[in-house]
């Protein structure tokens, strides 16, 4: 007898809840599902199988959680007669696949379970990743396996903030001790800035051969983090800027010098002046909007006025490198 589903009203106490070998969902809320079950009952039975004489849940962790929350002790279940873990897991996977999209962390768990149950990497790539809308390459396979091994603190953040794959993948490059310091810093920021902070931490840590957590313990950054007058978002923003300055000391010096020259000159508002990206060339771009001839001429007069001042030359001056910086390379 193989793969026969036997329907049953299962006493939930018969389930071995310690056995989570098939579990893919961990960070979820079952409140809405509980409400639905309360109103109309559990329409989709749990999927269970027997291991060492006890029932093990294959699929339906959210449903089970909602039932337990409502104090329900018996629920409909299909009993899968399949002693092979990989095959049993695939039953659960295909059951879920039909009904819902998997969030990032669940995709990572699916890949990790298949790997643990002995499915070859090439088969996961070819047969499973496309089903999960993941490109079928070794890079993605390895990345999702790394994400599955993330510390719970990072997983909670990914689930809570719905962090995308590139950020989750970067988090997987940090150790738990680093993540404990990084995650609180990251959460108030938008995704682009989160990415920037992670990139900067990784780069600085590799350049200086120190742990990222130690970068966050340097006096300047620690002072920001310990300051009580700033809300979390401001602290994160200040740390982000400090990290950028650490990673790009010369570029930020040039940027600050340029901005300072504009301030000193009293550069007219409403006219933008931008150097070439990263100052790669000497070109600059001045631009402004105008509505008519008079406004256009007024802007030109403003430009002529600032360009005739002595301080105007300062916007072309750049800080020099120091020998000290050279030795530090």
């Amino acid at each position: 007898m193989k793969n026969i589903f036997e329907p049953k009203q299962l006493n939930l106490h018969e389930l071995d809840l310690e056995d989570t070998r098939f579990r893919i969902s961990e960070f979820f809320s079952s409140d809405r599902l509980a409400l639905s079950i309360k109103k109309i009952g559990l329409l989709y039975p749990l999927l269970v199988t027997l291991r060492k004489g006890r029932f093990v849940l294959v699929s339906g962790w959210k449903r089970l959680s909602a039932c337990l929350k409502l104090g329900i002790s018996r629920a409909p279940a299909l009993i899968l007669d399949e002693p092979d873990d990989l095959k049993a897991f695939l039953f659960g996977l295909y059951e879920n696949l039909a009904g819902r999209e998997f969030p990032l962390l669940e995709k990572a768990e699916i890949v990790a379970r298949l790997d643990a149950f002995g499915m070859a990497g090439s088969k996961i790539m070819k047969d499973i990743l496309p089903l999960l809308q993941i490109p079928p390459t070794a890079f993605y396979l390895d990345s999702f396996l790394s994400i599955s091994r993330l510390d719970p603190i990072a997983k909670k953040a990914i689930a809570a903030k719905n962090l995308p794959f590139p950020i989750a993948r970067m988090l997987a490059e940090f150790q738990t001790e680093d993540l404990e310091k990084i995650i609180p810093l990251l959460l108030p920021l938008g995704q682009n800035k989160q990415r920037e902070v992670l990139e900067d931490l990784l780069e600085i840590s590799k350049r200086k051969n120190i742990f990222p957590r130690h970068i966050l313990e340097t006096p300047g950054i620690r002072a920001v983090l310990q300051c009580s007058k700033w809300p979390p978002v401001q602290k994160s923003e200040r740390v982000r800027l400090a990290l950028r300055r650490e990673r790009f000391p010369h570029l930020t010096a040039w940027e600050e010098s340029f901005q300072s020259a504009l301030r000193e000159l009293g550069w007219p508002k409403g006219i933008s002046l931008e150097p070439a990206p990263y100052f790669e060339t000497d070109d600059m771009e001045a631009s402004f909007r105008f509505k008519g001839e008079k406004e256009f001429q007024a802007r030109l007069r403003q430009l002529l006025d600032v360009s005739s001042r002595q301080e105007f030359q300062k916007i072309f001056a750049r800080p020099r490198l120091t020998t000290k910086g050279r030795e530090k390379a």
Partner: protein, 375 residues
Amino acid sequence: MGASPYYPDRVYIDKKALDFPLTERILGHLDGLPREIVPSPRRKQAILKAIRSSEDPVGEGKRILYLTVQRGRFVKPCPCTPRVIGCGYFIINLNLQCPLDCTYCILQHYLAEPWLTVFVNLEDLWHELDGFLEKHHRRAIRIGTGELGDSLALDHLTGLSAELISYFRGKANVCFELKTKTAGIGDLPAVQRPGNIVVSWSLNAGKIAGEEERGAPPVIERLQAARAVVKKGYRVGFHFDPLVRFPGWEREYEEVVRKLFQVIPASSIVWLSLGALRFPPALKKIIQARFPATKIIYDEFILGRDGKLRYFRPLRLELLRSVAGFVKKWGGKEIPLYLCMEGKEIWRDGLAWKPRGKRAVENTLSPRLWGQDKS
């Protein structure tokens, strides 16, 4: 592989390459090595797929030699990079990939096929070169084989350098360059008045050569090889590319420049190029995976106009200007210096020269060579 001559673990021979003398010559040097004739594109793809699915496709590919025929053009303009001043160089794609394993090597990312390829249809090459040189007979041409592979690393198997030298000698408007990091000069014939043939070496600071140029001989061995080549009658060139920043880079680069001019007379040097470390972002990931201990990719890199990561401009400039200064200090001001893949601002500030374009660079590099060999 150390600095010993390269031998592959396995050879694949495209069915279409079977009847060429060069195939026979190469296989003659590889007697007893596992070999397989590749009968179809399908089989070729299967082999490549197996290489690519290995843990280190680039490293795996270096152990395999593939003999095939060039179906496209052998001669192409050097791809250079967008928005910079080029030097008008032409490349001959006779072999692809390199048995050396330098951390920063662009070929890890640039070439689609990871194995070492040698194109064996030399008759087609000579024919194409005849046409190419005929078409460009009024202009100075600098051309070489060392762009997508090392010019001499396979020479003990192919013997191609001698044939190429024989072809190019006496071609009045052409300068042919063999570019290498090896010391394998045994197959270069002694020549009298080679004139338009240049053998050039890629040089670096001792630390970079030792830590980041796996399989290449130490700098001093390269210089000794260059001296031997000068004694054979050739003129030589040197490429300080990529220049890398690291603690103490100034001292080390000055030291290698000083050694260079101790060993090689400045009058034998036809040109010297400088280029700062640069790489596409995708190569960075490959380097991280293949050389996890390297530090050279972690510095103040910005995304340049060509989409490559480059040192922030003043750092790059400092590096290029310093090494140019060392060359002038130890070798004098007569050796033509040029920059590889840099824009006009860096040329101006690094070399105090504002060439109007690649023709201007080419015209500066070429006359010195021909001016010395009009006999």
